[in-house]
């Protein structure tokens, strides 16, 4: 499946992004691009800074400067909802659904950006409001169908089995109709058959015109679905390329083999800066 990026048009442009937490540098001068229509994977050992990069891109960490651009627009300083309005939507590493809402209502919330009823129309119960609600409900049904969650439509989000909750998270993000979808370890905790199904799903999402940036530890999945892999280690990019190249790259192999030494190195790094 791996191939050269489908186009060379940059959509996400990360340019010398640096993020520190106190003495710890989580990302140091990180630059990478994501191209239109591709599935790019951001990999690296635990603590490499992948989630931090996601937080920065989606406005959950406020970053000054001009280091993050999406389709030419600067994302630095924008709030998460403004970034979602520009078409960049993420999922969370830790399972995150609206636990007390039904699965359908989870999707309805995800569709928030695509409803336009004004307050006065709602208070006067204008016909337009009802039409819009049924339109949204139909769309929610389609999304659930696509994600294979239709059977659970009326169950509470928090009551779903783990694997389905992970699918629901992606469904909620898709409901926001992103043009760039950031997935933070979406298959962690899924069993192999669920993972295989999810990989097929990713292909379908991409086929729907959505660019994907994936953070994942499951290397078989990463190598199977990615057009391009970016490797982050200790806050810096150490390699970038097609999956086959990455698998052969000695520095990547070293970073992953040195996994156990990671914590030690991280604390040394911290001490070094203090």
């Amino acid at each position: 499946m791996s191939a050269a990026p489908r186009s060379r048009e940059v959509v996400l442009d990360i340019d010398r992004l640096t993020i520190g937490f106190g003495g710890l540098v989580a990302l140091a001068n990180v630059s990478f691009d994501v191209y239109e229509g591709e599935i790019a994977s951001l990999i690296g050992p635990n603590g490499a800074g992948k989630t931090t990069a996601f937080n920065a891109i989606t406005g959950f960490l406020s970053v000054s400067g001009d280091s993050i651009r999406y389709r030419g627009k600067r994302l630095n300083g924008l709030r998460p909802n403004q970034i979602a309005d520009l078409g960049v939507v993420r999922t969370f590493q830790k399972t995150s659904v609206f636990a007390a809402n039904t699965v359908t209502d989870n999707i309805m919330i995800g569709l928030h950006r695509h409803a336009g009823a004004r307050l006065w129309e709602i208070l006067l119960a204008r016909p337009r409001v009802r039409d819009e609600e049924s339109r949204l409900r139909a769309q929610a049904g389609e999304i659930l169908e696509m994600m294979g969650l239709s059977a659970h439509a009326e169950e509470l989000g928090g009551a779903l089995p783990y694997g389905e909750q992970r699918l629901l998270e992606v469904a909620v993000a898709l409901a926001a109709k992103p043009t760039l979808l950031l997935l933070d370890e979406p298959v962690s905790g899924m069993n192999p058959s669920e993972t295989a199904r999810f990989m097929a799903m990713l292909g379908r999402i991409r086929a729907g015109g959505i660019t994907i940036l994936l953070v994942e530890h499951d290397m078989r999945m990463v190598m199977g679905v990615s057009d391009r892999v970016i490797v982050l280690n200790q806050g810096a990019i150490i390699a970038e390329g097609a999956p086959e190249e990455i698998q052969r790259n000695p520095e990547v192999i070293r970073a992953y083999l040195g996994h156990g030494a990671d914590k030690r190195r991280a604390s040394k790094r911290e001490a070094g800066r203090a």
Binding site: T58, F60, R79, P80, N81, A84, D85, V89, R90, T91, F92, S96, V97, F98, A99, A100, N101, D105, M108, I109, G110, H112, R113, A115, A117, L119, I122, L123, A125, V129, E132, E133, L136, V172, A173, A175, A176
Partner: protein, 339 residues
């Protein structure tokens, strides 16, 4: 609740003055109704957005004072040579002004405090209520301070000189409160059932996730605060023109606590919760007054509240509706039936 049950219930409420001839009972229902409106407004914030406003009575009092002042007229000595004179307005206009001014303060509090949420919101709202109480107490030129605003006109509808309907007696006031109650209910029900209400609920449930799909956190919460404060202001206006006197004690913390108790025991985040809680804790003190000493009243009140919260932590309405579902709704089909 389905349409039939709702219709029956509303019909019953409309019929009460026809057969309940004791004016004192009607008085209890009017006051309970006013508190139910206030509790419903608090529920929008507390139940649907999850933000605890412990100064909610401020909006109630602001609505009341504004409505009283606009209906009485007032003058303010701004400089030695200039006095601003505000002429008395028809009460229904004053009532609307009370709603608008309360809503404005809701917006202000929302803007200020939703940047700092949770415990900070609680503190900001408590302080706000206390500041407003001190203003009402000390700005004697405007509010008469502890001497209270007296002779507040009763509610009127119409245009002075042409046609006017004045709500002197209990029965029209009962209907006025009932209609306001129903309107507030409809406003809240439509709001929380809409995309805007879904956004509020989403923030309560999982703020980062809501923000990640495009929900504007500040905007949703400020909207909830404005609507909530405006409805509380309406309740305050009704109260003022019914009791016809208002003093700074209207801002006492105990009234906010009463509203919170109504919402929490009835079931926060449910439409019927504040009504059920409001009926119980609005009527109970009066009912007890006839049979128990004042000390016993408070003991019973407190014990009942603790029992409800202890045994039904989500409140009465969620407990009853889940019991109802289990008892009467078709259980999930078994394999046998499906075959």
């Amino acid at each position: 609740m389905n349409r039939w049950a709702t219709g029956l219930w509303v019909g019953f409420l409309f019929s009460i003055p026809l057969w309940m001839t004791d004016q004192y009972y009607l008085h209890i229902l009017i006051v309970a109704g006013i508190f139910i409106i206030a509790a419903m407004s608090l529920n929008l914030l507390l139940g649907y957005t999850g933000q605890l406003s412990l100064g909610h009575v401020a909006f109630f009092g602001i609505g009341g004072y504004t409505s009283a002042l606009v209906s009485l007229g007032f003058d303010l000595e701004l400089t030695d040579s200039y006095t601003f004179v505000f002429p008395a307005q028809p009460v229904w206009i004053a009532f609307l002004a009370g709603i608008v001014v309360a809503g404005f303060f809701g917006w202000l509090i929302g803007k200020i405090s939703f940047k700092v949420r949770g415990a900070y919101f609680v503190i900001v709202t408590i302080s706000f209520a206390e500041v407003v109480r001190l203003v009402a107490l000390n700005w004697i030129d405007l509010t008469e301070g502890p001497m209270a605003l007296n002779n507040i006109p009763p509610f009127t509808l119409g245009v002075p000189g042409l046609w006017e309907l004045t709500f002197w007696r209990k029965i029209p006031n009962y209907y006025l409160v009932l209609v306001t109650c129903i309107l507030s209910y409809v406003v809240i029900a439509r709001l929380v059932g809409s995309r805007l209400g879904r956004a509020m609920i989403a923030l309560r449930e999982n703020e980062p996730l809501a923000a990640s799909v495009g929900v504007d956190v500040t905007r949703s919460l400020v909207l909830a605060a404005v609507v909530s404060a405006a409805i509380a202001g309406a309740a305050g206006g009704l109260y003022t023109h019914y009791i016809r006197i208002i003093d700074p004690d209207v801002f006492l913390f105990i009234y906010t606590v009463t509203m919170v108790i109504m919402v929490v025991t009835g079931g926060k985040g449910t439409l019927a919760g504040p009504i059920v809680g409001g009926l119980i804790f609005g009527i109970l003190p009066e009912a007890l007054r006839e049979v128990a000493s004042p000390e016993m009243q408070w003991v019973i009140y407190g014990v009942l509240m603790i029992l409800i919260v202890y045994f039904l932590p989500d409140g009465i309405v969620p407990a009853v509706s889940s019991w109802w579902k289990e008892r009467f709704d078709a259980p999930p089909k078994t394999g046998e039936e499906r075959a």
